[in-house]
Subunit: 178 residues, 2 copies
């Protein structure tokens, strides 16, 4: 498919709106950008935790939890399951919500679940490697994003608990999220 | 500001992507549409619940909880607080997350909080009226959206509980959400 790209966005306040939006000067399209939802999960088998080594930027070569942008037409849980399938070729059973993190600086809300591995796994196209780690072997210095550290730490607090109140952003993380 | 509108979207798969997106045939802009987050709250004063009568479509004239689309640059909690301010001129103190509902049919994730009224209130520009209701006086047949019914019902289950696991979509609501 051939695609002409002649978009030219400038900031302006659309009629009937009360804040600035990106408006295309070529065609008039108003780009209402809203925060995006990342759905992911801490997936365990017995006491081991599934991590994926990123094959793509940002943070290529670093380890992360299976997670990614929610798409139209799915629930948050389905998005988390799809990401585990795409990144780790894994089927997961979602237990419950672990945490919801807001990162205004990059316009993200990350919803992380606690889940069980229900299949084999292997690296998908966005991963260089996928492995199960004992807690003591987690490569803390090679984790891709602060929220991966948060989710793993919060997960550890819920071990042995069937029910718990989901976590939010850890205290004093505003310099990371704002 | 004068705004030419010559946008003309057609479905196509952008280079490097794996699903159809709306692509503007005038300027080439790819409209990556993701689910949008609605943040809202069940706001109480003593045992009464704050409801707003909608001044705008859809469902003008029906009662709703203060809630609306999260914007860039804010946390979910800040979005819920802003909506209470805009729709009910009210300051609220958020207690904790009450529920997260996914409505794939309309591409929404609704995050509802339990909150306390911490100020006076009055109708904002998007409301015809704002009132505190005793539980027995809630206008069930005049509520704007199914998720308002869900959030109120779930809220009632948490009365007297400091901690609880947030709710998801009620069982057997797929015909509403899909
Ligand atoms: Zn354009
Ligand atoms: Zn265009």
């Amino acid at each position: 498919m051939t695609q002409t790209v002649d978009e030219k966005f400038e900031l302006g306040v659309p009629n009937g709106d009360d804040r600035e939006r990106r408006i295309c000067q070529t065609c008039g399209f108003v780009d209402y950008r809203n925060p995006r939802i990342v759905a992911g999960s801490v997936v365990t088998k017995d006491d081991q935790i599934l991590l994926c080594k990123r094959a793509i930027e940002p943070r290529k070569g670093f380890w992360t939890l299976p997670a990614g942008y929610m798409e139209l037409g799915e629930t948050i849980e389905e998005a988390a399951q799809r990401e585990a399938r795409e990144e780790a070729c894994a089927t997961i059973e979602i237990d419950r919500m672990l945490a919801t993190y807001s990162i205004p600086r990059i316009g993200q809300v990350q919803v992380m679940f606690r889940a069980r591995l229900a299949s084999d796994f292997k690296a998908g196209p966005e991963s260089l490697d996928v492995q199960l780690f004992d807690w003591k072997d987690i490569p803390w210095s090679e984790l891709a994003f602060p929220t991966v550290v948060w989710a793993l730490t919060h997960f550890a607090e819920t071990r042995g608990q069937a029910d718990f109140v989901p976590f939010g952003n850890p205290a004093n993380t505003d310099k990371v999220t704002r």
